[in-house]
Symmetry: C2
Subunit: 292 residues, 2 copies
């Protein structure tokens, strides 16, 4: 079974579009997402543009603030403060990566927690850990939504998460271990210091790969009947494509897919779900469902 | 090797005592810990008294606020607010468990993060997850301090944590997986929904048992050469003791210890380290080292 993030996103976004239409009819506020992009990174521009476009499609308002790569940390923090205070903006994101001269932690601590729809502020992470209402980061949340959509049973399953990044691997490992419907897994978090990753993945019922290494997970690393979630997205040059590149996941799909009972493709798996989860969080923000 | 929490605590507390003496000589503030105890639970009274006594021993000021078990949530929150505002109090704790009519999450969110020396506020948990300066809960921190004291190599080790409680198991699993000196383990978090826990523990280099089930971990669940950290502390009736009870850990010590290269005893292992870690956090609070 292919866990179709594209199709699932269309369905979930259609639902949101209807809800937004109804809100407008009732004279309620239209959700409004703002995004700050610093610099000219090609992939980042693509991602931000996709988020803005998705807002349009579901009827959200959106604002893109594109700052030059020379923007100082102080200027960026001031811009964040302005969005914190702007009553018309329900939530906003700061697209990663940021230029090296800007302290990422400082930036995310400046975002007001109730507008932190990317869920990167420490208080949202802490609330997630404690299973309190929280904005959950878009990629992990998107994965949970996808597993839920396909009624994947997770309780008691052995789950291996590859990669301990702050934005995917680590929160994913925490979320899947929680005592919640999509959760209750026995989770092992593997990373660069793990010896014999293959031994871990071979025993796993569910594997989440979030390393950013193209085609890392090979066919001989996966047991028959596994469920594989591929978070990777690497651009490799491909002159046969109009864009000049194609996208590869962290999974050697050709070899791994035949062994799986469920797997996400790249593209069309976790990527679209990330955007859908961001829209979901923005709608929550507009409805003040997390912080009241 | 016995990881002697009692002896380690004496050494670390002696260091703190000297630092406090020097602070007093220099006219700097004396660290001041307050503790709120609600109700008459016997074990809780013992724990709080031990914390107050430890404060005296290292030269901290301490305040014990003992409220009746009928205290309303509102009254407790007001008491917390008073401590938040009291400039003389550097940090304070609310002893668990609380009576059932009080919402624990509300209570810990009321504590000002810079006085939250138990590290239970979501923002301290989030900062810990992100590896930012944070108050780390006393029991996990005490375990880290003990492992550090005995120069235990953790990087690349397979670690199994039994129990996903908010105050021990879950933070312990996060801390041991971080890219830090005492960290970089490949951590598996096991809990009530885990099937075949024995299979996991048998493969582990380091086992942290935090289930609260007396003598849960048996000799046949541990491989030779393992390191075992016993967080459990259960009172069982024992008429031969003056107190009428004795303390049991979560580990069948007699059978497990001979297989281990290092193990914590109960009592005298994690328990004293928990108190030492709390003192450590209080000293940090007094020196404003976490939040400036």
């Amino acid at each position: 079974m292919i866990l179709d993030g594209k199709q699932t996103s269309i369905e979930l976004q259609n639902k949101m579009a209807i809800e937004v239409q109804n809100r407008k009819k009732e004279g309620l506020k239209t959700p409004h997402l703002a995004a700050i992009l610093v610099g000219e990174d090609g992939a980042s521009q693509t991602y931000v543009n996709a988020k803005v476009k998705a807002c349009e499609q579901v009827g959200f308002d959106s604002t893109l603030i594109h700052l030059p790569k020379e923007t100082t940390e102080h200027e960026l923090l001031s811009q964040i403060e302005a969005l914190n205070e702007d009553k018309n903006i329900d939530g906003f994101i700061v697209q990663l990566p940021l230029p090296a001269h800007i302290n990422v932690d400082k930036v995310f601590q400046q975002v007001k927690p109730n507008k932190d729809v990317d869920g990167f502020h420490p208080i949202n992470i802490g609330r997630m850990v404690k299973n309190l209402p929280a904005y959950i980061s878009a990629t992990p949340l998107g994965i949970l939504m996808l597993l839920e959509k396909y009624n994947i049973e997770t309780a008691g399953k052995k789950c291996v998460v590859l990669g301990r990044s702050q934005i995917v691997g680590l929160p994913m490992s925490i979320l899947l271990a929680r005592n919640t419907t999509i959760g209750n897994c026995t989770v092992t978090l593997c990373h660069s210091k793990t010896s014999n990753i293959k031994k871990h993945t071979l025993e796993a019922d569910i594997i989440v790969v979030a390393l950013g290494i193209a085609e890392y997970l090979k066919g001989n690393m996966v047991k028959k009947g596994a469920i594989v979630i591929d978070v990777g997205i690497t651009r490799v040059n491909d002159e046969t494509k109009k864009s000049g590149f194609r996208l590869l996941g962290d999974v050697d799909y050709e070899k791994v897919a035949p062994k799986c009972i469920a797997i996400t493709p790249v593209p069309g798996g976790v990527g679209p779900m990330t955007i859908t989860a961001l829209l979901h969080n923005t709608l929550l923000a507009c409805k003040k469902e997390i912080y009241g």
